[in-house]
């Protein structure tokens, strides 16, 4: 494995909580052991390697590769594309996050159907999902670059505002919103630190490690998944994959995180 490991975020954010309690958390201790064991390797690299193959391989009804995919910086430009999404794409007429955009290329360039790319967005430990490989490949190419999400197109402004409002919308059996868990600084659920995603500092720290390889599930998860699982914890129904709603929330977080250095897929609990 030639890439350096990018262990950040979750392990480094202990700061605000009770340090004593943190030290005793078996999960955190477990991750530290795991990290030692891995040395310089992050299993996300396997996803990246598979993703690169998939990117360059001819596939789909049109028997085309994704090498001409325009991720926002022109056809074929992968490096630096991730840190400039979500953004408005004129050809699609909407704001898209990186995952939505890659799938857009799979349908438009390779000829896959909408149903095909929606079939299995989130893989399992033994059965990875192709889009998770592709996303890992594309984001890793932005490692070390500054998050620089465009904020000037009216649709980008609109997506930010929608995302912010959605973030604060309380409903469901427990009256939760995203802000119930991510609206105050220095809070935690049990021993899990909760970033205050309304602040630049915490939004940056949270954003730069995603997508992430999670030790608890032994696989890479994308930001689409992260939002999906937080809505589950919010006791809401399920957000539709790649919907404007999900992409608006990602836009809100990405614009708040602007200026941070992207660290690449992190290793998380």
């Amino acid at each position: 494995m030639k890439y350096r490991i990018a262990v950040v975020a979750t392990l480094a954010v202990a700061g605000t909580g009770s340090v004593l309690a943190q030290a005793k958390d078996p999960t955190i201790a477990g991750i530290e052991k795991y990290r030692e064991m891995l040395g310089d390797d992050n299993p996300a690299e396997l996803y990246e390697a598979r993703g690169e193959i998939l990117w360059k391989m001819k596939a789909g009804p049109k028997n085309a590769s994704l090498e001409k995919c325009d991720l926002g910086l022109g056809p074929g430009v992968v490096k630096g594309a991730y840190v400039q999404t979500p953004r408005y794409f004129a050809d699609a007429g909407r704001v898209m996050d990186i995952e939505t955009r890659i799938n857009w290329c799979r349908t438009s360039l390779q000829g896959f159907s909408e149903a095909d790319v929606r079939k299995r967005p989130f893989g399992s430990a033994d059965k990875p999902s192709e889009i998770e490989d592709l996303v890992t490949y594309v984001v890793t190419a932005s490692k070390g670059m500054k998050v620089n999400v465009p904020t000037s197109h009216p649709k980008e402004v609109e997506a930010y505002e929608l995302g912010e409002a959605m973030f604060h919308f309380r409903a469901g059996p427990y009256d939760f919103s995203c802000a119930s868990c991510h609206g105050e600084s220095g809070k935690r659920i049990r021993l899990q630190d909760l970033p205050n995603l309304t602040t630049t500092a915490d939004a940056r720290r949270a954003y730069i490690g995603w997508p992430a390889y999670r030790v608890s599930t032994s696989r890479v998860h994308t930001m689409q998944w992260r939002i999906n699982d937080c809505f589950r914890q919010q006791r809401f129904p399920e957000p539709k994959y790649m919907s404007e709603a999900v992409d608006a929330l990602i836009t809100y977080m990405a614009q708040t995180a602007n200026g941070a250095e992207y660290k690449g897929p992190a290793l998380k609990r």
Binding site: L20, A21, H168, A171, D175, K187, P237, K240, A248
Partner: protein, 221 residues
């Protein structure tokens, strides 16, 4: 009018002693103790409501009906969790009025069962088995005992809750009511309305009251 009497009894309890002053503080703090600020404009909130309707789908027990806000959620959403004091008072009265009290007039159950419930964080998500009982989620947000170090901090520490406030009928009733419907005392509280939404039943609520008030409970040890 039942509302006023219940509220009065809580306030009355607060004159009893120094510990109860904390209770009065909490009860009257009401809407001022805003859980989380939010800058979303009412127009953006409206767009959000539409986006939720458009872009979400039912899964497991989590139907899209969950996105239909009730009056209280609506006011909290539109006021950034900070309704004017008179609106907050009306909402709190309404929530208090909806509390159903035990027919036998007793509030104290079994603290051991309460501790188990407080530990459990399951329930109400689309991946939960609806056949299984819903947990209390209390440790997710509160410190409750010295022995459990894995506790959340979204809510205040409830360590020594009973030791500090005593075990009077008023305190018992307040504690039952607060867990049943947290919004009866704080319109836009971050805490769920466990009894009101039917997540916890009467027996479970009593067990939790015992967990907080029983002198033998780890909360007060």
């Amino acid at each position: 009018m039942k509302t006023n009497i219940t509220r009065l009894s809580v306030i009355a309890a607060s004159t009893a002693g120094a510990t109860a002053l904390m209770l009065a503080g909490c009860a009257s703090q009401g809407s001022q103790s805003q859980a989380f600020p939010n800058h979303a404009s009412p127009a953006a909130m409206k767009q959000a409501t539409l986006a939720f309707k458009r872009d979400f789908q039912a899964k497991g027990i989590a139907g899209i009906d969950r996105l239909t806000t009730d009056k209280l959620q609506d006011v909290c959403n539109r006021s950034a969790n900070n309704p004017s004091p008179d609106i907050a008072a009306i909402l709190e009265h309404e929530e208090l009025d909806r509390i159903k009290y035990p027919a036998d007039g007793k509030f104290l159950g079994n603290w051991k069962a309460g501790e188990k419930l407080a530990q459990s964080g399951t329930g109400m998500t689309w991946s939960d088995n609806p056949e299984k009982p819903v947990g209390g989620n209390c440790y997710n947000c509160h410190q409750l005992s010295k022995t459990e170090i894995s506790f959340g901090t979204i809510g205040p520490s409830l360590l020594n809750y009973g030791k500090l406030r005593g075990n009077s009928p008023e305190i018992q009733k307040y504690t039952y009511s607060k867990i049943y419907n947290s919004k009866a005392y704080n319109a836009c509280s971050a805490m769920p309305r466990f009894g009101h939404v039917g997540a916890l039943n009467e027996t479970q609520l009593k067990d939790l009251v015992a967990l907080l008030l029983d002198p033998e409970s780890p909360v007060n040890k």
